[in-house]
Symmetry: C2
Subunit: 163 residues, 2 copies
DNA sequence: TATTGTTATACTCTATAACTATA
DNA sequence: TATAGTTATAGAGTATAACAATA
């Protein structure tokens, strides 16, 4: 290795310490929280995150189209299609004909799917509460408000920078 | 246009509406915030998230070992090694011999790496401020405190459930 | 022509572990 | 024996687009 000319140890005037950089900290937090939830639905049943989410929103018993499901959990049609196929394979979901539009079907949980949901949902919600239990009532309210604000601001920034 | 604005009526006794499920909302927020930052370091220079983070922590000019870098940004040694290799290829980083331990090297930014950092860091920090500008001073303080609490709680839960 | 959903394909990420060279 | 780092490899996840059936 030739001793390439090395620039002096100049701090850039703008310091960027990851430990105080909000997007980084948010990613660390999200990753940890996600893992702690995933522990439950991958440990007790072998579900992926997509499958778990689909199970959750179908847990009401209502039949929904693939498109509707994708919209509810922000999933591309291709990913939705694949996750649904796997769940049909595992007999967690069945397809029902949609008489009003033969291009699509309606998806609903089988009795086994419902059973899994009834077992899983309380455990997952308990873990959520366990997480949030560290916060006071006030803090929970603040958190909700702050997250909503940040989310719309983040969306606004992206739209704006794309025009 | 789907004319069915039909809301689910049949809730199971434990309701799990993704829109009010904290881990889900956190994931949505993190994803949006991450994307809005990535827009900058992938758009202006072709960096991955790992590469951007390494650039950021080396921005002080200080030389660090691969292990040290991995610890600072929570990256496995394998991923660290690969990201560093790519950055050496792009001439953003050079290896310097570590005389005290010949198993490892010290990594530091090249003059080009420093130049990229000096251009990128202010843009990224500006975007962070743009995001946070939607919050009041109070809210920013609350956010920091709440995130710290949630992070340690999340870690505590995972440790606990693994024993 | 547009929309719903499926399939193909290529690409990126990740996780595990074997391997080397030092210590 | 343990540690720093590299390389191999397989699996998971993602993105783009072509496609069939229906509207």
């Amino acid at each position: 290795m030739p001793a390439d000319n090395i620039e002096p140890k100049l701090d850039s005037n703008v310091s960027l310490d990851m430990d105080h950089f909000f997007p980084y900290k948010l990613t660390q937090l999200q990753s940890s929280v996600s893992d702690s939830i995933a522990e439950i639905y991958t440990g007790h049943f072998e579900l992926t995150r997509h499958e778990w989410r689909i199970l959750a929103i179908l847990g009401t018993g209502k039949a929904l189209s693939a498109k509707h499901i994708g919209l509810m959990i922000n999933l591309e049609k291709m990913q939705t299609s694949r996750a649904l196929a796997k769940m049909i394979n595992k007999a967690l979901i069945i397809k029902v004909e949609d008489k009003s539009d033969k291009r699509s079907s309606l998806l609903k949980l089988t009795s086994q799917g419902l059973r899994v949901h009834r077992e899983l949902a309380p455990m997952v919600l308990a873990r959520e509460q366990d997480l949030l239990s560290i916060l006071s009532e006030d803090e929970r309210g603040q958190l909700k408000q702050i997250m909503d604000k940040l989310f719309s601001q983040s969306k606004a920034i992206q739209v704006q920078s794309k025009s």
